[in-house]
């Protein structure tokens, strides 16, 4: 069940914005299509991320995929334990497998609500 209080990018990242801070991760759809996750690279606290640009990379089945930011701003927290516990992405992609918290200065104009994202996933197959 995907949360209704998150927004989504077509590239399967989610964000939940509360009090000007976005929590960012990747969706269950992304995790199921990547499978067998091996490596995750995230930015450091204090780094800047930009709407639509890569903020990190993940490797699965010898495939490296870029992760794209739904917001711009400063990274104020990083889930430092996640790269050593990639199984969390399967267990709780919207909860314990959050990746970054970003103090938001801009949001992507392409963010979708849950219903629109689910239609997008259905169209992708």
């Amino acid at each position: 069940m995907r949360p209704n209080d998150c927004k989504f990018l077509k590239s399967h990242e989610w964000c939940k914005i509360e009090n000007g801070v976005a929590t960012i991760g990747i969706t269950d759809y992304a995790v199921s299509h990547l499978s067998d996750l091996v490596f995750l690279d995230l930015p450091k606290q204090g780094a800047s991320v930009t709407v639509g640009e890569s903020f990190g990379e993940i490797e699965s089945v010898k495939a490296v995929s870029s992760l794209y930011s739904p917001v711009s701003g400063e990274v104020v927290a990083v889930n430092k334990e996640l790269p050593d516990h990639l199984e969390w992405l399967g267990e709780g992609p919207f909860t314990k497998a959050w990746m970054l918290k970003v103090k938001v200065t801009a949001q992507s104009p392409d963010l979708m609500n849950t219903a629109a994202y689910e239609a997008h996933c259905t169209a992708e197959g």
Binding site: S11, H33, E57, A63
Partner: protein, 228 residues
């Protein structure tokens, strides 16, 4: 590597590039640590790929880079390997070269990945009785549009640094005619499974310029090699 990167960023249409290596060289997977290869013989040429997986000693092999809109491949990464590996297996069979694809009963690529790509065959790898015959890896991007770079190394003769690698020459006399036939059948079967019509073309001016820039600013730079 710079050309493949340029194609990933700029290719205007689905592109297959076939090539070989001289001098023979080692390529590291994107997430591998340079320090883990400090024991390579002095002077070994080494480069970092944009694709994942383990290191490869590229000797006598048929290397390919396939750049595609992501929509042409299954969204599921593992399924995309199955589609492309079955095309390669059929191309090899057309040339009288037998191999099999390890099925879902085999474990996926071990975690953490082996230092050498060919060391531990996993699910969906193409193997002969002697071991893994094909190395594969991908890079998936969303910008400028959803695209996949799929790298493949089809081994003709086992490389010096990784003699455990299976090779076409283990069971076949390899001559220029067989190499050409294999290239032709790969083109045919990739086009077949992707529903494309193959035609030959050269790199565009734009692709060439970007490849030269990437070669100068990334691939020939020590910093890129040592980024991890």
């Amino acid at each position: 590597m710079a050309v493949d990167d340029a194609l990933l960023q700029r290719a205007a249409e689905p592109t297959l590039r076939l090539y070989g290596w001289w001098p023979h060289a080692v390529s590291l997977g994107w997430f591998q640590r340079f320090a883990d290869f400090a024991d390579l013989p002095p002077g070994t040429p080494i480069v970092r790929r944009r694709t994942g997986g383990g290191a490869i000693h590229h000797g006598d092999e048929l290397t390919f880079a396939l750049v595609l809109p992501a929509a042409l491949l299954p969204g599921d990464v593992a399924e995309s390997y199955v589609l492309l590996h079955d095309a390669i297996r059929t191309a090899l069979a057309d040339c009288g070269i037998a191999c099999k694809r390890l099925d879902a009963g085999h474990a996926p690529t071990p975690r953490p990945i082996a230092r050498w790509c060919f060391a531990e065959p996993g699910r969906d790898d193409l193997v002969t009785s002697r071991g893994k015959l094909l190395g594969s890896a991908q890079r998936r991007v969303q910008r400028p549009s959803p695209r996949v770079l799929h790298h493949g190394s089809l081994v003709v003769r086992s490389p010096a640094l990784t003699p455990f690698v299976a090779a076409i020459a283990d069971a076949h006399a390899v001559d220029a005619a067989l190499r050409q036939q294999l290239a032709d059948r790969l083109i045919h079967h990739f086009a077949r499974v992707l529903a494309l019509e193959p035609r030959t073309s050269a790199l565009s001016t734009d692709e060439t310029a970007l490849a030269r820039q990437l070669q100068r600013t990334l691939y020939e730079c020590d910093a890129d090699l040592r980024r991890r």
